[in-house]
């Protein structure tokens, strides 16, 4: 599958760039569907729809959220964060809806993103407005939903979620992620929305989704000095003692059309199975750190040139229920991934290989008001390279135990993530309570353990206590 399929895709892409093919297909499909779209059979009461006033068509809501995190391992506050997230929905004409979500955020300690972040990873139209060292404003989402017949076109800044896994990502790669709090933040908050054209077309029992993403925004990773700065050597190369390093500015793709991402997803429900097939032609959201060594009069000198690289991803998901057990899974094959290598024969410090990742999840509902969820995740670098720093076959497991009390107003849970190869991991007990319809409070711990070279162990000194509240307005 690997070579034939992707070589074909590369060949086609060379001759007929993929974004053009998918855009042409999408636009053609849109116009054809528009032409044949029948009167929408959407529910209900047309009289009610027509009689709505302007105020009936506009709805405002908001979240006010505050969270304090205290790092008890290092006896320092990690954050005292407050954010307001207003949302407006406007029902325009012909069932077209405009949704906008903004976020005003302030942090009393400025340790997650010290100073003013340069936002190099973010496409300029998508960048936050940074006000001083402690405050930023971001347009989180702004999109038009345009139904025509049974089809949907969603245009604008939005989140696209693929995949079935919790806490770990295989196919959920359409939107990049903000790692300012590693993976401790809810994905809904840490996923970075992108300017996207999202067309969904039902074809018989299959739903076709076409994505065109001109937004060239990638993962936001904490700068040096941040609480959750990455230091694990399989993520960040470590220079030998005495070697000077020059980290150059990241080289960003800058062509509006040619450097956009495109994706296709087919989903269906077949004999009790939820199935999807996914394809995504994209830039890997992590820049590849190409290294070059030179000898200068002052000694050896390493230049690191970060560049984003293209990758094809093909994969799929499934889920079904067997009695008390829900089985879910996803698998993704990625071409042209790059991994840091220590091989002395390697010229640029990185090793190119394809990567196969999958996750199997089991949710068991056997106890009343309880959930036991186990996930098994593996990632395999398909090509052999003896000097590769990360594990060639990397295995992580997760276990979630949750129990609800008092008609789901009180929720207790504990999440445990464990990397099998390195023996490091993270444990997250949490207690949350819904005071009333609008206010929820919570408290919990985030505990890291293991070797500093591991994904979780690199934050072994970041154990923290959190307490927070959320007010829905």
């Amino acid at each position: 599958m690997n070579n034939s399929f992707f070589e074909l895709m590369n060949m086609l892409n060379h001759k007929y760039p993929l974004y053009k093919m998918i855009m042409a297909f999408g636009i053609s499909l849109f116009w054809q569907l528009s032409a044949v779209a029948e009167e929408p059979e959407i529910e209900v009461d047309e009289q009610y729809e027509d009689s709505r006033t302007l105020s009936d068509r506009i709805s405002f809501s908001a979240f006010l959220n505050a969270e304090w995190a205290y790092g008890y391992s290092e006896n320092r506050h990690q954050k005292m964060e407050v954010y307001l997230e207003p949302e407006v929905e406007i029902d325009l004409f012909s069932d077209i809806r405009l949704t906008g979500i903004a976020r005003l955020r302030g942090d009393g300690y400025d340790r997650l993103e010290p100073g003013k972040p340069d936002q190099d990873e973010i496409w300029k139209p998508s960048r936050r407005l940074i006000i001083g060292d402690h405050t930023d404003i971001e347009l989180r989402e702004l999109y038009l939903e345009i139904p025509f017949g049974d089809n949907y076109l969603t245009l604008g800044k939005q989140q696209i979620v693929w995949g079935k896994a919790d806490g770990l990502k295989v196919l959920d790669v359409v939107n990049p992620q903000d790692f300012r709090e590693f993976i401790l933040d809810d994905f809904d908050d840490s996923r970075i929305p992108l300017w996207t054209m999202n067309l969904e077309v039902p074809i018989s029992a299959v739903l076709l989704q076409l994505l065109w993403i001109p937004d060239r925004t990638y993962h936001n990773t904490p700068d040096s000095g941040a609480v959750y700065e990455f230091t694990a050597p399989f993520i960040v190369p470590v220079a030998p003692p005495g070697v000077l390093v020059d980290l150059q500015d990241v080289e960003r793709p800058d062509r509006f059309f040619a450097d956009s991402d495109v994706g296709i997803r087919l989903t269906t429900f077949w004999k009790g199975w939820d199935l999807s097939a996914n394809y995504f032609y994209h830039f890997d959201d992590r820049p590849v750190l190409f290294q070059s060594l030179s000898i200068t009069p002052t000694g050896p000198f390493v230049t690191i040139e970060p560049r984003y690289q293209r990758s094809h991803m093909i994969g799929g998901t499934f889920s079904n229920v067997f009695g008390d057990l829900t089985l879910r899974g996803e698998l993704g094959y990625f071409t042209d991934r790059y991994f840091i290598t220590n091989s002395p024969t390697d010229a640029d410090g990185v090793f190119a290989s394809d990567e196969l990742s999958y996750v199997l999840g089991f949710d068991w509902f056997g106890f009343e008001d309880s959930l036991v969820s186990f996930q098994f995740f593996q990632s395999w670098v398909t090509d052999d390279e003896s000097g590769i720093v990360r594990n060639e076959l990397d295995t992580t497991t997760t276990l979630l135990l949750r129990h609800d009390f008092m008609n789901e107003t009180l929720v207790t849970e504990i999440l445990w993530l464990q990397n099998i190869n390195n023996g490091d991991g993270m444990v997250r007990p949490k207690l949350s309570y819904e005071i009333n319809d609008s206010v929820k409070v919570w408290a919990g711990l985030d505990i890291f353990y293991g070797d500093r070279e591991g994904l979780f162990g690199q934050f072994q000194n970041n154990d923290r206590f959190i307490v927070g509240f959320e007010w829905g307005l």
């Binding site: 929408p40 529910e43 229920v321 057990l325 829900t326 949710d363 509902f365 008609n407 789901e408 319809d437």
Partner: protein, 276 residues
């Protein structure tokens, strides 16, 4: 509403036999002259509930200290042949807005139902095990089974027996007792016994009492404000009192429309994600 109504009826419907000693109040207990429990349940199940229905549903939940929570929802139900599909979209409050629940209820008793739940915080649609039908639905005093059954009665889950007659709110009712067919079913449903009062004219359950598997009083459901909507008998308010926890749930239905055109696409995973 009506669905839930029928849910109740369902549970009721599944009635059975077991000991007469269970039936508390009986009027004219000339049991042999009364229609059998199964007959009554079949009448309940055969009652017209429309091919489809769209309605607003206000859920009010009050704990024993009087703390009240409210959820505004819109719900839709439609038959696809003998297969019934039901979807509920949460509209408010803000912290639960966007949550949606979808169920496919198959006529084949051997086939498990399929259920999905969309939680906006994760932006993912999750499959829910249909065998957790005795679990309580999103903080209410209804079980998932109650919500799913809506208007049909799980006739195969119980053994039914008519144990008497009563007058509820001035309406003549048959009293039907239902007992799960076996321990496993009782465990799944969370009920050890159900006693339902079924209106003998319109075949709607007006009141139902539930006991747990140890025969302790569990909850009482009352259907109120029953009237015809577009020619179909419909319950507008369902009250549930949980005797174990002191928690109370009230469902109030409005804007009921049995003639609404509901697109098939409303009952899909995509609709859960997108909402209304």
């Amino acid at each position: 509403m009506k669905m839930l109504n029928q849910l109740i009826q369902n549970s009721v419907g599944a009635i059975t036999i077991s000991a007469l000693s269970f039936s508390p109040i009986m009027v004219n207990a000339a049991e042999n002259d009364l229609p059998s429990g199964r007959e009554i349940i079949e009448r309940v199940n055969a009652r017209d509930e429309g091919e489809s229905v769209a309605r607003d549903l206000l859920m009010e939940m009050t704990d024993k200290r009087g703390k009240k929570r409210e959820r505004d929802t819109k719900s839709f139900r439609k038959y696809f042949g003998d297969e019934k599909r039901t979807v509920i979209f949460y509209q408010s409050p803000k912290n639960i807005k966007g949550t949606a629940f979808l169920t496919y209820d198959y006529p084949d008793a051997d086939r498990d139902d399929d259920q999905w739940l969309y939680l906006p915080a994760s932006r993912k649609v999750r499959r829910i095990s249909a065998s957790d039908r005795g679990d309580y639905f999103l903080g209410t005093d209804f079980t998932y089974e109650d919500i799913k059954l809506e208007s049909k009665i799980g006739i195969n889950d119980y053994i039914q027996k008519t144990v008497g007659e009563e007058t509820i709110d001035g309406h003549h009712c048959y009293v039907v007792e239902s007992i799960p067919v076996n321990e496993e079913t009782a465990k799944e449903l969370g009920y050890g016994r159900v006693l339902a009062r079924i209106d003998s004219e319109i075949w709607i359950v007006r009141k139902a009492e539930f006991w747990d598997r140890k025969d302790n009083p569990l909850k009482t459901i009352q259907n109120k404000n029953i009237s015809q909507v577009q020619g179909i008998w419909t319950t507008h308010i369902i009250d549930v009192q949980n005797h174990k926890t002191g928690h109370h749930t009230s469902f109030t239905f409005s804007n009921i429309n049995y003639q609404a055109k509901i697109a098939d696409s409303v009952f899909t995973e995509r609709a859960l994600r997108r909402g209304l």
